[in-house]
Amino acid sequence: MRRPTDAERQEWEDNGVLFLENAIVGEDLARLQTTFDRCAAEARREWLEGIAKGTRPAAHFDIPRPLEKDDVFIDLIDHPGWYGFLMDFADEDLILLAPQVRTLPVSPISYVGWHPDVPHTTPLHMKAQIYIEDVPADGGAFGYVPGSHKPDAGACPVVRPLDSMPGHKVYPGKAGDVVLFNSYGWHTSMVNRTLKPRKSIILIYEKWSKDRISTKHFAAIAHKCTTPDRRRLFSLDER
């Protein structure tokens, strides 16, 4: 399992974001890509029906309950490519909040403007965005304002257009690259101006706090979480 170097830890502290090249490769990546496509195809009709009813967003397509659909998604949660980083940043006490197995359609606008996910009153909140296919800068790549995760950053401004945000950085990547970011910081999905939908998986984690996730929340996959580490990660036991 990879652990952050001192330089990487410093970068994380300073910027609130860390880009990990080739965090998942080879067989692991190939299996993930195949499974992503199969599960997305299976879930597509229900998504389209939900769009028409106004109960699902059209601007992004998340596969519902992915952890129950294939073990490949469970194995991502503590994948050695990034799990060690998140454990380190969370002082070895990390829980999963949710996975988002997400396809982002092409659109002239971003589905979400610049925003932080949580206020500083929330325990350390982090996300790992895994690129399933290559994501060019204009293909819905992740954008972040390095340093905006700090408590003195102030309120996130509304900017027009999206790419006029002062100090922002765009993170294009190859399939298997991962962006880790502190969700106090301002971030967005840049506009996907290509002809190809973006495929990525966003894993949402937090430093453990009492009663944040119910022991029942991930009960459906409890039988696949037999090690103490996993039982903690998925909040399966009372603490």
């Binding site: 769009i51 028409a52 106004g54 059209a58 397509f61 359609p105 002239p108 606008i109 509304v158 027009r160």
Partner: protein, 300 residues
């Protein structure tokens, strides 16, 4: 700045002079006239209004609307409708309605592209394309109450015609299929999550300079009585994203006359956006509509 009610409906009893379609909401003997509207506007300090066509899309169906615009030229501007079977060649219909300059735009509820957001989007194949194209050419306003399954297509059309002034009706909410019903008072009710799921396709439109949003129709989406507290946070989101200079207050008269009453709708912005400064409030209550829709000075 004037107070402008930027979206509402008037209609006369069915007659040869004023033909219209009849339904449960607008039976043949029901009238909600411009005179009744002007009375209630005057009682509440409202100066001007947008009359949005109701009762049919044919040219003849617009006669009462045209009568009102002609009779009260400094009070009203109009929004017309286009028969669905003319969308592939709507230009003549649009121009005939707009020839006096008082019908300034057209309302549609469909963009008409692919319902699957993952398919390729070519606006030239969308059913409403010719309407947009002609609106761009003639500087007509697009009045939009878009169904949920078309929400993701809007941005493609706006990108193609960024110069068009487009006004999203009723809090930019896009009604879902099968989510429409009539409430106990015979008014439309839309069962929708608020904030709406379609926000992911819509809020980003604030980047375009000619996109406006109506703060109206609360009664149709709220699960609560006036002042519709459950919609407060969505009003704040719209304000934060678009700014007061892109928001327009409206009542959707006559559907609110009995419940909660026109006077209550005049106060609804104070209730749901209590932190506005005077300038912002004036923009929302009429300044935006006057500037964007080109109302004449009331005193003229």
């Amino acid at each position: 700045m004037p107070i402008i009610d930027s979206h509402l409906h008037v209609f006369e009893k069915l007659s040869d002079e004023f033909p219209r379609e009849v339904n449960d909401q607008c039976p043949a003997d029901r009238a909600e006239t411009a005179e009744k509207l002007l009375e209630v506007m005057a009682a509440n300090g409202v100066d001007q209004a947008i009359l949005t066509q109701i009762g049919g899309t044919q040219l003849t169906h617009h006669r009462y609307l045209q009568y009102c615009l002609k009779t009260y030229p400094n009070r009203f501007r109009g929004i017309g409708l286009i028969p669905r079977d003319e969308w592939d060649a709507p230009e003549d219909h649009m121009d005939r309605l707009a020839e006096n300059g008082d019908i300034i735009g057209f309302r549609i509820n469909e963009i008409g592209g692919s319902a699957d957001p993952l398919s390729q989007m070519d606006v030239r194949t969308f059913t409403s394309y010719r309407i947009w194209k002609h609106a761009a050419k003639k500087n007509y306003v697009m009045w939009l109450y878009i169904r949920a399954k078309d929400a993701h297509q809007v941005a493609f059309m706006v990108r193609a015609f960024p110069e068009i002034r487009a006004v999203f009706n009723h809090l930019m909410i896009c009604p879902g299929e099968g989510m429409f019903s009539w409430d106990g008072e015979g008014r439309p009710h839309i069962n929708t999550p608020v904030p709406p799921m379609t926000r992911y396709s819509m809020l980003g439109l604030h980047e375009y300079p000619n996109i406006c949003v109506h703060l109206s129709g609360q009664y149709a989406f709220s699960q609560e009585a006036w002042p519709y507290r459950d919609l407060e946070s969505w009003h704040k989101t719209l304000l934060a994203k678009f700014g007061a200079d892109k928001l327009m207050w409206a009542t959707d008269f006559p559907w609110i006359l009995e419940d909660p009453g026109y006077d209550k709708l005049v106060q609804v912005i104070d209730e749901l956006l209590p932190d506005l400064n005077a300038q912002q409030k004036a923009e929302i209550m009429g300044g935006t509509a006057k500037r964007v829709l080109g109302f004449p000075d009331v005193a003229d």
